[in-house]
Symmetry: C2
């Protein structure tokens, strides 16, 4: 599709997006900290933060004023600084972290109050997508289906390997949009291999599409207490009272994921298999995968480097840092401000443990 | 010896010291650079630079005004800043690097012009000595012998291991001060082991003691061209014309070491075996040896560190840096300003090569 064609595609007032930007990204410490998490960083060195990139991806098919950002209230200024085109009305500010279900409900009610015919996409702010045009085509397909049927849709990534870090979706059907048979949380390697050989499994990327009508109905069915808690605020959405209502009531909501609280209980869940070059940038290793690499598979962001007998490393520093690495294979070397981390890439699951140790031994300010 | 006893030892106006502070210490890159070499750093984190420590070691037994500093003229301000008690008259400023023989001759002439009975010690500015009292006792012994006899003395370190990085001195005799039979440049391991088993070999630490009369006589014999070149300046020493004379003539001198140019040719060379805990701090590895270490043999200067499954590492950063290292054994990790070096400790001989690569790829300013 050419740029001209893209610009001619319909942008409809019924299309909404909710970008989830409240995470901490602690596996990317010391780059990502609770003060300045991953989604606000230009992790790949492309000139935009992941949040900015995610926003732009939706802005091509959704009216800017219909793109909402869900985040912790402490990131309010950071979001407004990175997305100068949005108003405070477009922010869903969580006073406390309560996993995804309360936040999606809040978003759905706020949007539904604005537009009873709304269809909405929920997506993480911190993933990478290679083929944005394909992504947009997929979202429009899901929007269309969701506006016509009472379904809860998820986008399922065609798996390229038996990754044990993702959830899997088992599907059935011959249409473009498939019935979901089952969700499986992170499987072990054997199970993951089995899934791939069976051919009807997709990765759960946490990208959901539905009409506000359908999702609100699902909350009434599966999370009625939560639904009632938020329903009581129906007079406040998009008014000056919204903040106070959320401040008082959001902390009372059950902390539960949309997957567990809604998707795994509903019987009208559909999946659209997609293949747009997805990477959740969940770990330094997945970032390494995504980046351009030298002949020895070293990937570098910002640093000027000399590698000697060094391979498969992931190096990220502040701009202008000169790094000489000799004799390291498969390491992460990350420097940010007054912190330097050197850690084997295959031990990156230890980084959460490291962050806890840094908090205890150094300072919480560093994490 | 108590402090009171030490203060009662003779300080005689005939005692002189020349501290050699013109080196670049490139094996300590990126800590040591040509702009700010090793001797000006507090390499061990003791609160004083190596130069300051060396100066203080001599100042306990030699009048302050008799301690001269030989260095490249570009370090003039650095020396004066670190040693505020000395005058510009005490600086021997080399306009170009010409190895040690020209510099020792310049020093000897300048001192001899001041005091015909002078005995002088020449010593590097960038070594570490554990037992300073013992060192001072040894120097006084050598001063005494040199003022009474026409000899060229060197201090020989009792070797603790078959180190292949040092020169060896073979000696003979039963007196405290021994005759030197032979100098051997850095031997191979087999030869070094042989030397140790023979028992009459010492390490050459580059610390020499002699009267100005004896050393000037030796130059006349072994390096007559150089001697004549500098002898022509006998009217300028310690006058306003000294700088100009050196500027004009020093570059004309042959670049040759005192060991090769004088010591190995003379037949009146003596050695005083000494054992004051000497470390030439020649490499990051020797610095590591010298520093306090944790239970896993990690040595740290300045950094605040968390080690996980990491041992035998040498870490040095700017103050206030927080460093987390997982899974590294026997590495050097050094950060200074905008440079970070990670290199196996047993590849530290590659650092000179690295410095050349940094010059070529990044900037000479970094080296």
């Amino acid at each position: 599709m050419t740029k001209d064609q893209k610009d001619q595609r319909p942008k409809t007032k019924d299309y909404f997006a909710v970008i989830m930007a409240g995470g901490i990204g602690s596996r990317f410490w010391p780059m990502s900290t609770s003060e300045y998490p991953k989604q606000f960083h230009d992790m790949l060195g492309v000139g935009e933060s992941l949040l900015q990139r995610t926003f732009a991806r939706f802005a091509a098919i959704i009216p800017t004023e219909n793109i909402l950002i869900s985040t912790n209230k402490k990131y309010k200024e950071l979001v407004l600084a990175q997305l100068p085109d949005i108003s405070e009305q477009q922010l869903l500010l969580e006073p406390v972290m309560r996993n995804t279900a309360p936040c999606v409900l809040y978003a759905a009610l706020k949007i539904h109050h604005q537009n009873k015919n709304a269809v909405m996409v929920i997506a993480p702010s911190d993933h990478w997508i290679d083929d944005e045009t394909e992504f947009q085509r997929n979202i429009l397909t899901a929007f269309k289906a969701s506006s016509q049927q009472d379904i809860l849709m998820t986008l399922g990534i065609k798996p390229s390997n038996p990754n044990t870090g993702y959830g899997y979706i088992q599907f059935n059907g011959t249409n473009e949009i498939k019935d979901v048979l089952n969700f499986t949380e992170k499987p072990n390697l054997e199970t993951a291999k089995q899934f791939l050989s069976e051919g009807n499994y997709l990765w759960n990327a946490g990208i959901f599409v539905w009409s506000t009508q359908s999702i609100l109905k699902a909350y009434k069915q599966s999370l009625p207490t939560m639904e009632q808690l938020f329903e009581a605020g129906n007079y406040v959405w998009n008014t000056d009272f919204e903040d106070d209502f959320i401040e008082d009531n959001y902390p009372k909501a059950e902390s539960i994921s949309i997957d567990f609280g809604i998707m795994e209980k509903a019987n009208n869940v559909k999946v659209l298999p997609v293949d747009f070059g997805w990477n959740d940038l969940g770990t330094w290793g997945s970032l390494h995968q995504k980046l351009a690499k030298d002949n020895n598979q070293n990937a570098v962001v910002n640093a000027e480097t000399i590698f000697r007998d060094a391979s498969n490393n992931m190096v990220r520093t502040q701009k202008g840092k000169h790094v000489v690495i000799q004799g390291l294979d498969n390491f992460i070397v990350v420097e940010k401000d007054n912190v330097l981390l050197i850690c084997p890439k295959d031990k990156e699951q230890d980084i959460k443990e490291i962050v806890a140790e840094v908090k205890a031994k150094f300072s919480t300010k560093l994490t």
